[in-house]
């Protein structure tokens, strides 16, 4: 993953524990992104890892990205690394992905943030205000000094409400969500307990499920796959599939004619029957019921849970 190479050109301390990084492209143009997107940042520590962060700049801004990073105590070292770099540092990024997209037909948006959860909602504000759609932002933080983007958010006046726990202000989901117009969409980027409260309140008030959105980070590839052995039932040939190769690649390397089309677990062309062994389905092609049958595998993406897989080839 080195799809985009960027340089840090500005670092701002938003709160004692949150820093904002402004990134510009080193190798061409930055990929555009939609509001609510996140991307993977490569952390070049001894054990290379990828952390996901939400973009918090304007999607209409083509020259730079902003990311806001919370220094977290129980991280694997990614946020500590980012908190000690200086301007001029180069970073490798993935391409933007979105699992928290704005519904383009909403009549009104209610955005609810807790702490660092504000970041994807910032990118949304640029789009919502450009299209002049009504919105409310409810933002819970410890105190004004612990509240990232506190000054930036003043421009939106009373459409933004702050709840500072230090002052005993609590966010009341029911109060916020009741008496909103039909077609209101709710965006939650809050700690789990508050998220459940908000979803419960929304459901009790009759919000359709599809109108309540919550941030779910897409799994960043960890490359933590296990090697396994494929046994070809007809020829009894044994083919080792190392952790960094797919079953399809291993078959091809062994000179076996294997079908494929998309090579991404989406089309079904590479399907092979499985006679024995437990499959780890990683595709988006089979339904859960088909996956549970455990009798066929898409060789371009899926792997074995067991040490060995006997396949019908």
């Amino acid at each position: 993953m080195n799809e985009q190479v960027v340089r840090v050109v500005e670092i701002e301390k938003l709160t004692p524990r949150i820093k904002r990084f402004r990134l510009v492209s080193v190798n061409g143009k930055l990929a555009s992104f939609s509001p609510g997107s996140h991307l993977a940042v490569e952390i070049p520590l001894a054990k290379r890892q990828y952390n996901s962060y939400s973009l918090c700049s304007s999607p209409y801004q083509t020259n730079f990205y902003d990311l806001a990073v919370l220094l977290s105590e129980n991280s694997r070292g990614g946020s500590e690394y980012l908190h000690q770099i200086t301007t001029g540092t180069e970073l490798k990024l993935g391409l933007p992905k979105n699992s928290f997209a704005l519904n383009s037909l909403a009549r009104k948006y209610i955005l609810i943030a807790g702490g660092i959860g504000i970041t994807p909602l910032i990118s949304m504000l640029f789009v919502i205000t450009r299209h002049q759609i009504p919105f409310e932002l409810h933002y819970a933080a410890k105190s004004p000094t612990e509240c990232a983007f506190y000054r930036f958010l003043q421009q939106y006046g009373d459409r933004v409400k702050f709840y500072f726990s230090e002052r005993g202000n609590r966010l009341n989901p029911k109060q916020i969500l009741q008496e909103q117009p039909l077609g209101t969409h709710v965006y939650l980027c809050v700690p789990q307990s508050l998220r459940e409260d908000c979803r419960g309140a929304a459901s009790a008030l009759g919000y359709p499920k599809s109108a309540v959105h919550r941030e779910l980070f897409g799994a960043v590839k960890t490359n933590k796959f296990k090697p396994f052995t494929a046994v070809l039932a007809r020829s009894e040939q044994r083919i080792d599939v190392p952790q960094d190769k797919t079953l399809l690649e291993a078959l091809e390397a062994a000179g076996i004619k294997a079908n494929y089309s998309c090579r991404a677990g989406g089309c079904g062309a590479c399907e092979v029957k499985v006679i024995e062994g437990e499959i780890n389905h990683l595709d988006s092609y089979y339904s859960p019921a088909e996956k549970a049958e455990q009798n066929r595998i898409l060789t371009c993406i899926s792997r074995a849970k067991s040490k060995q897989l006997v396949i019908d080839l």
């Binding site: 799809e3 990929a31 555009s32 992104f33 939609s34 999607p59 209409y60 083509t62 391409l95 933007p96 992905k97 979105n98 997209a101 704005l102 519904n103 383009s104 037909l105 789009v127 299209h131 599809s210 089309s261 998309c262 090579r263 991404a264 989406g266 089309c267 079904g268 062309a269 988006s284 092609y285 339904s287």
Partner: protein, 323 residues
């Protein structure tokens, strides 16, 4: 308008085996233009303009919530054309001031990116009038894809007007078998996960009598009866294999999906210059299930084409005689 030898050689012949059935036939696009500018560019751009001038309704629309998607489409198309055909297209960007040069149409416009008032048409119409592809823009929301904008002057027997605003499985409603085979459920799940910068492609095919791109339902009266005119004598010249090269492209700012369709027509007498294609097409048509023959609108001349092709397969020199 016929195809040059080069165009025939490059024709996207769609059959990989002797039996055709629907499947989720999608493949990655790598190091290849998304939009094809070929020898029919001027003819097809003029044809498109004529159709839009005669009656734009039913041929072009964009719902108001597709504004960001329109600019996304414009940005991707301009960059694609300028990257792959630099001798014909140039895009100069100075901040938000963009200058677009289309030498083929002798056209130059300077405009402000994201400011609609600086272009002669809205952005999607502006750019789609300069490519040969029909283009659909889909909005992704509520776990579905909605047909919320499009330009469609060369459709294979469907209506943009009728499908406007529909969901993925709704606008595929008339297609036989594919729903039962689970093709559309799987295709949709796949499309919803198409990523920025990683486009996909698939081929679709049917047949058309006479070299006619506009076979829309709206103009059915003009071409429907052509299907009665096919004989063994005129088959090679009249009947065309019609192949759509379709692309699936994530629109980055709007999170929508762009679906360009480039339609290629090849007459049977052009096609049979390639003996492998002749044999393949003959087998595919012989094996085609009756409900697909019916759905693709081939019923009236399917049999004639098979007979004609069988003669060419048996006596290849007939091909030369015909062409």
């Amino acid at each position: 308008m016929t195809n040059s030898p080069k165009a025939i050689k490059n024709f996207p012949f769609p059959f990989k085996s002797d039996a055709y059935m629907y499947s989720v036939n999608i493949q990655p696009v790598t190091n290849e233009a998304l939009f094809d500018v070929d020898e029919h560019y001027h003819g097809e751009i003029e044809e498109r303009d004529r159709i839009l001038q005669a009656d734009k309704s039913g041929r072009y629309f964009a719902f108001p919530h597709m504004k960001d998607a329109q600019w996304d489409a414009l940005e991707i198309i301009m960059n694609d054309l300028a990257d792959y055909y630099p001798e014909s297209f140039t895009l100069t960007q100075e901040g938000d001031r963009w200058t677009w040069l289309n030498k083929k149409l002798n056209l130059e416009d300077t405009f402000t990116f994201l400011d609609e008032t600086t272009l002669p048409y809205e952005p999607f119409e502006y750019i789609s009038r300069q490519v040969q592809e029909d283009i659909i823009l889909l909005d992704q929301r509520e776990g579905d894809l909605f047909l919320d904008a499009g330009i469609l002057t060369f459709p294979a027997s469907w209506s943009l007007d009728f499908d406007a605003g529909m969901r993925f499985e709704e606008f595929h409603g008339p297609v036989p078998r594919a729903h039962e085979l689970g093709v559309f459920k799987k295709a949709k799940a796949f499309l919803m996960r198409v990523q920025i910068g990683k486009p996909w492609t698939r081929l679709n095919w049917t047949m058309t009598v006479n070299r006619r791109l506009d076979t829309s339902l709206e103009t059915y009266a003009d071409w429907g009866s052509d299907r009665n005119t096919v004989t063994l004598d005129n088959c090679g010249e009249k009947v065309h294999l019609r192949v759509e090269v379709q692309r699936f492209v994530r629109l980055p700012r709007s999170n929508g999906l762009m679906f360009p369709i480039h339609t290629y027509l090849i007459s049977l007498e052009e096609l049979v210059t390639n003996p492998d294609w002749t044999r393949r097409l003959y087998q595919v048509l012989k094996n085609l299930p009756p409900d697909l023959v019916e759905y693709k609108g081939l019923s009236l001349y399917h049999h004639t084409v098979i007979t004609w092709l069988s003669q060419v397969v048996d006596e290849p020199e007939l091909a030369e005689f015909h062409s």
